[in-house]
């Protein structure tokens, strides 16, 4: 087992019911990577991500975290693995009947033995990290979409995860906010040493932050390329990859 590899995906096949989404996926995410999952709309990027963080079980093949598969692990091990992951969802997926502070506090209350004051300190710090200091007692409905996404990020990093999964974090944000969110993800990744797996369409983000990645194709239903986005652009022999990475220009 290679110690540098955080996630090892082997011969993975993704199926919904009888609907084949992707097959034969093989790639590795190295520790500290910002790994970008690319591809056109509907090619199965979100699906791949959801399989990676254990929401769905693969139809065939395996996803290994430090050599262990989530689905063959015992429930204790599964819970330990989940604590090492942070997940953000496309719309933020904040609990709308809880304040931002309560949202971020939730994983801390669930998985740590911190007392209330310490949790409050942690929540303050995490919200400050994503630039939401002072918004502790607001409800998700009272803040903007971009702020909801950042609050979702604060909740995802509450437990200092080793691996962060993002599904289109900057979709629906203005270019400047998107850029700031990218920077934030990058900085957080660097400072905490976390591995980042990110689904995004934003070319700017892909080249700015991606150190590694995989390109999924909807027609052939498999990966067309893997490696760093620059490398893909320069060396991939598939026209579709080049077209995507140059916006067809």
């Amino acid at each position: 087992m290679n110690r540098d590899v955080a996630i090892d995906v082997r011969q993975l096949t993704l199926i919904y019911g009888s609907n084949l989404i992707q097959s034969d996926l093989n790639f590795q995410v190295r520790r500290g990577d910002v790994f970008v999952i690319m591809g056109g709309s509907g090619c199965g990027k979100s699906t791949l991500l959801k399989h990676m963080f254990g929401l769905y079980q693969p139809a065939a093949g395996e996803i290994l975290f430090d050599g262990h598969s989530y689905f063959t692990a015992s429930s204790v091990q599964q819970s330990a693995m989940r604590q090492r992951w942070g997940v953000t969802y496309q719309g933020g997926a904040l609990f709308s009947d809880k304040t931002l502070a309560e949202n971020v506090a939730m994983p801390l209350e669930e998985y740590t033995t911190l007392n209330r004051r310490d949790i409050a300190d942690m929540v303050c710090y995490k919200l400050a990290l994503v630039g939401l200091a002072g918004f502790e007692h607001f409800y998700p409905a009272q803040i903007s979409g971009g702020m909801c996404k950042r609050a979702g990020l604060a909740r995802a990093i509450a437990l200092d995860p080793d691996i962060l999964f993002f599904d289109e974090p900057s979709a629906g944000l203005d270019p400047l906010s998107a850029r700031r969110l990218d920077d934030l993800i990058l900085q957080l990744g660097h400072s905490t040493g976390a591995t980042v797996v990110i689904v995004t369409h934003e070319l700017a983000s892909i080249f700015a932050i991606g150190s590694n990645g995989v390109f999924l194709d909807a027609t052939t239903k498999t990966q067309l390329a893997t490696g760093s986005p620059r490398h893909m652009l320069d060396h991939s022999e598939h026209a579709r990859v080049k077209e995507f990475l140059t916006r067809g220009e």
């Binding site: 009947d97 300190d121 400050a128 630039g131 660097h190």
Partner: protein
Amino acid sequence: MNQATLVTDKTADDSVAITLQGSWTIGNTVPDPGQLTALANVNSITTVVFITAEDFAWDSRLLAWLMAVQRQLGSCLFDLSALPAEVGDLFRLANTVPASQVRVPGRPTLKQKCLAGIARLGDEVLGLLAFIGDMFIALGRWLIGKSTARWSDILTFCYQCGPSALAIITLQSVLVGMILGYLGVVQLRQFGAEVYVSDLVGVGMVREMGALMTGVIMSGRTGAAYAAGLGTMQVNEEIDALTTLGIPPMDNLVLPRTLALLLTMPLLCLYSNILGMVGGGFVATSMDITWLLYLHQLRDAITVTDIATGVFKGFVFALLIAMAGCRAGLECGRSSAAVGQATTRAVVTALIYLIIADAGLNILFFHLGV
């Protein structure tokens, strides 16, 4: 794991060094930031230098603690250069955006609460009147053919609140009829007048229980469904989308639902009346009254006016239930919890409206002599 401890050391007139030892991690207890407030009282201190000892480990816990200390010490400058570079990076990142000064409204006092309660009652009445007004305007638009309410929608809702509800209405009506039957038989037997059980069951069902109990069932079944459906649309911004398309929610959402209930409720009431009498009949026939006698007596007991009052009540109740349900749904908040609250509100207000309207109509009928 080593206990997290700290040693403070005054290195100069205006600076203090804090040495951090042990594991400053989530699984560990860390010193109370409050114990450093003594430093804050020494006005001359402007710089706090953080140093680490050999056995030092950290994660977010250290950063959270540093932030808490920063809040305690106010304007002091923090020198983190001796800590791992990542700590400095994260600390700077957390301090890039100054804390928002926007405040959420504080808790109201008792007096404010009482005033707000009275104001809410006023708003409730005004809101109800406005809603009724809007509804009639929408009805008017529909009648002159200027509205988008479609028959297909209306028929779908009719199906949902009519035929789909038959099973529970059947059960409810037969049982209510039997309850009235037992009540009547036991009381009337004391005077040897069991045969008049038909009058009690018949008039009781037709004038009162048929409409009222159907109303109760429909409040819980249809009123709640309307509120939850519209409430979820509100949360998903679907109602905003309709409004911006220039389609008033009143026309497109409220009117079809209301019309469906108005069309089906009177029919359900009639159905309930008949089954109630059948239920009463079972009781009567088990007590030495033949079906023939029971039915004959029923025919004499019930007048067309009785039936009309019951159906009229059903009509009024339908309007009230649809109004309570749709209004709660449209005025739903923007969160998942709000949908639950809207549903509760729909059922509770519908039941209150039913009781008040029923009492009011009975008084009216009494004075009109119908």
